[in-house]
Structure formats: C-alpha cells, structure tokens
Subunit: 383 residues, 2 copies
C-alpha cells in the first residue's frame, strides 16, 4: 500500500520535468521511457507487456535518445516468436522482474543529450537511425552509443516515417540490385511480391538506376489498379503469377533479352518459376519466404544455365558493412528529398505517455496477418 503513491509521485515528477524542459530536460534529470518488453519467446499477444523505466542522464560516451518512429517489420514479429535467428539480449537493466528484451529493430531517434566523451558533432535535436539490429526500438527513450547510430546529416525534406523505414526495405532492395548480378542500365531483373515494401523499393531504385523490371504480383480482382500503380512507380512490366508461368508471354515481354537477376520473397512454385525465367548465368536472390514453402531448383537450371542461388539478409549485411551502409542511407534519403522515391503504404499508431498496451498491440497483430499489407509504424508523441 506504500508503493503506489511513491511510484505515482515519481512518475509525476518525471512527467513534470519532461513537460517543462521538453526532451532537453534529460540533460538535467531522469527520462521516463515506456517500452514494450518480452521475457520469453512466444506469440506477441501472449508475451508482450508494457513497461516503464527511468533513464539517467548520459555520461562518458552515452547518448540519450528519444524515439520518433519505429516500424513493425515481419522480422520483429518473428524475433518475438523466437523463430528468427537474430536474438535480442535479455537483461535486468530495464528494471523488470525477469530478464527482458525490448522488441523492434528499425527506428528513428532524436538526440536528446550526450555524455562528455561523445563526438561533439553529435548534437541534441539531430536525427539518427539504428546502425544494426537488436537495439530494441519499440520504446520512447533509450541510451545509445555512437556505434548504435547512423546520423542523418540533413533531415530537410525527409519525413519521420521516411527516415524510420529507410534501413530495412529500401536498403534490402538497394543491395540485392547492386551486389549480385552486376546489372547495367537497360538490363532486366524480375521479382515476385512486387507490391511488398521491398518490391516497391526495388521498382523505384531500378528506375533510378535505369534497370528494367518485371514485377510479379499475386492474381487478384483489382489487378489493373495495382498494375497502374506499380507502373507509375517505374515498373517496366507488372504481371500476375499466372502470366509469369506463360513462357511465350515472358518471351514477348523481354524480346528474348536475358533476365540476369531475380528477387524472391515468396518461395514455392513462384520461386521455381523465377529460376525458369532467368537467363544464362542468372542470379536468384531469396530474401523472404512469404508462402512458407521451400522451393525446388531444377538441377538442369543450375548446371546448364549456370544459375546461382543466394540469400540476402540485411541484418547480417549491416553488421559487416558500416561505411557502405552509411553511403546507401545517404543515397536513399537523397532520392526521397528529391521526390524521386515514394513512400510505401503505411499506417501509423500514436504512442504517447498514456497509450495502452491494447492500442500498441493492434499494429503488431496486423503485422502477423498481413505481410504484404500496409506497414505499421509506431509514432512516438513528443510529450
């Protein structure tokens, strides 16, 4: 009976500091972070809890950051379920009874305050995104180090959502188009799940690099509308899975020009068909398995057509390519700023001081069921 008033008093104190000094307040006192946490792997509805903890002022190389926007990616949900190979660190440092971790891998932060040994070019008010996975981005405040962050040098013309979503989907598309097949302007690539976040990014980056794209989407009633939309983003051709299986249709599209790269997010028959569409020396890059089906590669395609199959995982790539990642993020943000790169469809959920667990769970649940729907994004209110 003693505890409750004490907690309330402390929360209210922190709230007052935050409200009075806005986020700079943390330079002088404790910040109050609200976060989703989980202490064991399982279905998000069962294992996620809402938790609050205090963050002390930064010292030495510590940087206090405020989250502005954190996307909900399929990988985040797989990570909570425990079926993702990248595991977060479970810690008692959040003040939870059991060792817990904060979910979320992608996010945009604002620098709030810096310890005395932080690089002086990093200043309050600047934006940054996570340099790698596992930071735990589904929270309102956190402490970071410079190595956790990629600073965004110029936020002019960039929306919070655009900055927050740059490091997974557009980055995956960028690397797959650049790193596997040595594509030159005028050459073809093909992709399934072309309406996904990565798919829409690949269409646009392909257009910017002068590549021709064959974009395969699932058969659906409103196909003409979707075709029109993806063509307007810069797709060369948009076809259904059924059309993609028709050899003559494919030959008509390419005029016999070989397709050198295929991007596969689906698996199953759709992926096997990509191997068929590829030309001699082609590369098939898998970055997802939406159908949850493995795919067969005919030995003849490997041996006689010299097809190569690879996988791509942005998390693993990011860990080993700091400099290239920063350059890539600058490229993509540059295109966004110039109006050359349109957002993927998204839906935001406001996250303020008093947002309840149920509200935060809504986009998470949608993320489980709708892999190719609108991306959910937590938008943290600057309260």
């Amino acid at each position: 009976m003693q505890m409750r008033p004490l907690v309330l008093r402390r929360a209210s104190l922190i709230k007052r500091i935050l409200t009075t000094h806005r986020h700079y307040s943390t330079r002088f006192g404790y910040a109050h972070s609200r976060c989703l946490v989980f202490s064991r792997f399982g279905q998000p509805e069962k294992v996620l809890k809402l938790h609050s903890y205090s963050i002390p002022p930064p010292y030495d190389d510590i940087i206090n950051v405020r989250f502005i926007a954190s996307p909900i990616n399929p990988a985040d949900i797989n990570q909570i379920e425990g079926v993702y190979p990248e595991k977060p660190e479970f810690t008692l440092g959040l003040g939870t009874g059991d060792k817990s971790a904060v979910p979320g891998n992608e996010g945009l932060v604002e620098i709030v305050s810096c310890g005395s040994k932080v690089n002086p070019s990093i200043r309050p008010g600047q934006w940054a995104i996570m340099s790698g996975p596992n930071f735990g981005t589904w929270r309102t405040y956190a402490q970071a180090k410079e190595s956790n962050l990629i600073m965004i040098p110029d936020k002019e013309g960039i929306s919070p959502v655009q900055a927050a979503t740059v490091s997974v989907n557009p980055s995956t598309a960028y690397r797959m188009l650049k790193d596997f097949a040595g594509l030159e302007p005028g050459e073809y690539f093909v992709q399934n799940a072309a309406n996904s976040g990565v798919g829409r990014s690949a269409i646009q980056i392909g257009r910017l690099w002068g590549l021709k794209s064959i974009n395969i989407v699932r058969d659906r009633p409103d196909i003409d509308k979707l075709k029109e939309e993806l063509i307007s983003l810069g797709g060369t051709e948009v076809i259904t899975e059924t059309e993609a299986k028709d050899k003559r249709h494919m030959a008509k599209i390419t005029g016999g020009q070989p397709v050198k790269l295929a991007l596969n997010c689906v698996g199953g028959e759709s992926a096997t068909n990509l191997a068929r569409i590829l030309g001699y020396n082609g590369h098939l890059v898998t970055y997802g398995a939406m159908s949850k089906l493995p795919f067969s590669v005919p030995a003849s395609a490997l041996i006689f057509k010299n097809i190569h199959c690879h996988g791509f995982w942005i998390s693993a790539w990011s860990k080993e390519n700091d400099a290239a990642k920063s350059q890539m993020i600058r490229d993509i943000l540059g295109w966004i700023r110039d109006g050359e790169f349109k957002d993927i469809p998204y839906e935001t959920t406001k996250w303020s001081e008093d947002t309840r667990l149920e509200t935060l769970m809504e986009p998470v649940k949608r993320g489980i069921s709708e892999y190719s729907g609108r991306k959910g994004i937590f938008m943290m209110e600057d309260d």
Copy 2:
C-alpha cells in the same frame, strides 16, 4: 552384286596399307575410320549405327589422329537421347546418307600425321585429349585441328585409360574443389555419390590439397568394404545417406568445424540434406542429378546461413578456360604419374577393325543403367 566385292577390295587395300605402314601410313594414303553414328536423337539402341568412312591425308592445319581410348560418360548417352543441352553437329561429311554425328565427348588420340601448316611441335606418336566437347570420340580415326586438342607433353607413366578419362571426372572434381569456396588445408567439404567417378576424384584431390572430406554413399549391404576403400583413397569420413541425416552424428564428425563446400550429384533429399550440413557462408555445387529429383533449398538456409547454390558443367567451363584447363590436366597427370591418384573402376571394350555393333553397344547399354558402376571405355586396337 557388284558393290560387295568392290567394298571388300577397298577395305582390304586400306587394311594392307595400315598393316604395312601402321598408322604412319596415312601420311601417304587414306585412313579407314570406323565410327558409331546417329542421325536423330533417341535411345542409343535404336539410333546408333556402325559406319565406315575414308579420311584423306592431312593438309594445311589438319591433323590426322587415331583414337586410343574413348570413355562412355552419362553425358554422352544423354546427348544421344537429345536431352543434353550440348548438341553435336550433324553433317554429311562422314559419307552417311542422312546428316549424322559421331557420339562421344571425351577421348585420347595419338597424332598420326600433320598438314604442312601445323605447329611443328606436334609430331606423330604424341598423345592428345579433346580440348572441349562435341568432337565425336567414338571412332577409330579422325581429322582434327590444333584447337581441338590438348597435347599431353609426357606420356611416361600414364596409361591410355588414365589419359582418356582425365578431362571429365577428375577435372570436374578439381574445379569444384578449387573455384567455389576458397577451401584452405584442414577445412571440410562434403559430397554425395562419393563412390562415383567424380566422387573418387574429389576424395583424392582433396587429400592431395590437405582438405578433409565427408563422403556420403547410398546405404548398401557391403558398406564396410566400400568405406574402407574410400578411406584408403584419402577420404576423412565415409557415411551413408542415413547417417548423414543424423545431426548429432554429423556434429561428432566435424567437432563443430563448419563445412564450407558441398558437392551434389544426386539431388532430391540428399541435396537438401547437404544444405543442412553446410555451415554459414557455405557453397552447394550441383553437377549431376542421379536421382532425377529436383531439390528444395530452405529459404532460411539461404537467408540466415547465407548458403549459395551453384551448378558446375565442365563442358561450359572448358570452352572459356583454355589455359587453366591445360594447367589442370598437367596437374592431374602429374599426380597419376607419381602414383598419387588411383584410377576409378572401369571396364574396357576392345574396338578393332572387325568389332561388331552389338559388341560396341554393350558398354553403352551398361552406361544407361549403371550411373555409379564401372565406367565403360572403348579401347581402339592399333591394327
């Protein structure tokens, strides 16, 4: 009724020239070549015929060669069936009524005589093998150009069978071990069909290069004898397909050391299991499909283990790598000469002036049914 004596007389004349002057005779007259031919794709028993034709003396850059030994490879049979992407040239140059081709891609020849513009380092009596596919090696004499041949500079210590079989099986193993995974001494590779010609070659080349091999063979009653034999060739471990599926058994073998390369000649579940055995960044190279089953690659292995799948086809490689091929042949023949490289099991069929079609068809028929049995080799009699 007129034809028969004429043909007999001519054959007898040629025979006399050949017998008197042995093969040098062709410098002064016509050689008499006997060959298998086919004028349409189909089952070898149905489409192969025995044919004789005359070969004029060589002029300019022409080299007359006598075949010493020509292997019967699975690819040769697939080529006759028309299911092999590499097609021979069908020509009227052999004197057949219909356009015909000579089957056989691999073979050892002896130089018989050279035209005036042939490189003078090429001299009668020297040995050579085919530089690429499609020459048509199932015959006794032929005309070639220097570009068709890889000269064997020193035949000392090399048997005709060894020289004749060097360019497909040992060469395929050599390239797959060298070109895909950057294997260093002490590192592991794994292969299925370890008892095949390529498999036995890979075991031995692996031993010579200091690599550790895990050799998977089909479950069979006389497994211990086969294990002993392959270990004696230099295999590190020999296990059955059943044992290879047991994760704990595999971990015990490698002691947790990652397997960086897998060679797949089988397909189906056996190949999928190779992908499971491979460690992070591993390469799976397919060079055959003995089971005739395609194989599935789990997307997780591609994405999270960064497995790469390739195919390897020695015919395509040979066309683009003249210099590297010559060096490789020298390496392998050097090992053979030094007693470091043992023959794969084989069975010869003598081919002399009067050998009948039925006799020549026997190893071809065996080649259709026994992919992993003894390799059949035509041995041409120097008559």
